[in-house]
Amino acid sequence: MLAYVVRRLAQSLAALAFMSVLVFAAVYAVGNPVDILVNPQSDQNEIARATAALGLDRPLAEQYFLFLKDAARGDLGKSFAYNVPAIGLILERMPATLELATAAMLIALLLGIPLGLWAGVAPRSAAGRTIALGSILGFSLPTFWVGLMLIMVFSVWLGWLPASGRGPTTMLAGIPVSILSAEGLRHLALPAANLALLNVSLLARLARSGARESMQRDYVRFARAKGLSERRVIGVHVLKNVLVPVATVAGVEFGSLIAFAVVTESIFAWPGMGKLLVDSINVLDRPVIVGYLCIVVVLFVAINLAVDLLTSWLDPRVRLGADA
């Protein structure tokens, strides 16, 4: 087990190093940020001064090693646009994104699993068919458009929920969160629902196929023969077996929720790091783009490792590293 974790960490570091070279080389090619940051009427001297100040006049390899050296100390350079450390800027926005992604994941789990179970236990019923069809539709719905429609219905027409921003935040262990106040929850509702949509469908589909398969297994027949109530058969025996793949997928999907938050945050003006990324791409704010990607890569690596460990804990049949 320990050997497995160590090997995985080494692999993750290699992936991280590889990504950092790739990202740095790629982002370097993004055009010249000086053109955007400097007043267009400035002369050659001023442009040269700004280029030197940002360290952009040095060779690419040197820029990369300077970047690595600083990155090792947790310094990803100063944002060109805000003139503050990029890493601080990103970390400041991270709680908002994590809160949004967590809320979306909770919605997906609490809605997707029961719906999927229902559809899997009674696949031929009207409800089962509707859920199955609905989940296909949910996959095809363009998330960003659904976000606009949510705003249209719940903010513009009904006027129930706010369409943008995070609302007032409360400090929880030094981190600002929205979930502790009613107003914050009202602000969270639409973006979280929007972000959850794809995963509700995904988890419902997964739970449905898992439940359908489980229902035909001997242990379900045995549990019924024992005289257990249908409620207990489904709620305990079937659910337990459905949960293993669901937990794995939900874990991996948490990463993609963070990535897709880029879209949701842009629609609902949610002040998270996804919106920061889009803004930074628009003004070619290199340090922030590179910093965001580094942080996301670290997050993903951590999530994947956690999911692997969780799966082996949930299902003792899965032996980690046995095939390597």
Partner: protein
Amino acid sequence: MRPALALLSVMLLAALLAPWISPQNPYDLAQLQLVDSRLPPLARSAAGALRWLGTDDQGRDMLSAILYGLRTSFAVGFAATSLGFAIGVSLGLAAAWFGGWVDALVMRLADLQLSFPSILIALVLLAVFGQGMEKIILALAAVQWAYFARAARASALVERRKEYIEAAIALALPSARILYRHLLPNCLPPLLVLVAVQAAAAITLEATLSFLGLGLPITQPSLGLLIANGFNYLLSGHYWISFFPGVALLLAVVAINLVADRLGELLDPYRAHR
């Protein structure tokens, strides 16, 4: 299958024939009248023409804009998927055929890429390439190649052990010929389903990126850009400017996905009889 296929055919045809069937050329500024701006659906323009789906802020007929937008969206999806297919399948076949370090290199790269959500990869690539039609096609193809490479390798690994490949080898045919003329055609069926699924994904992803302002330029508005434009007027209740382009996008993607689903059942004997 039938309704989905019919819907898809109609939409493809409408996109193809857009310049001939749309009520106006939405990008000929001479045809736009500002008095017609933001007309609701089924209103008549100042000149008396019926605007089925309303008009946008510049007085552009939404139906025409959607038909042209569909054209762009389909074109981008088709081009990106073809390119991704060509690159991915070639690499996947090569990986299965040559094995060894080629296999290891291609598959590790694919694994690495697939461990990140497609939107993230596309965002980074667009940040690097900049905006433009060719650039977004390149970015989408770069997102897709890994799926094709993985699927092509999987089916090629099964096929290469069969006798017809042995026969081709015995005839001392060149590798490229065996790969593309013998191996590829027999690996195609499962890949076809993936082509459809990926085309739908590419269309959605392009729309999403264009919505974020990072995709197509304003001169070639795809459905995503139409929706983004409508967002500006949503809060004032002019829902139709982003609602209808979204419906068109949804219908196109659902139709493709349903056709892909059915295609998968038809091509997979185990699934068909379940």
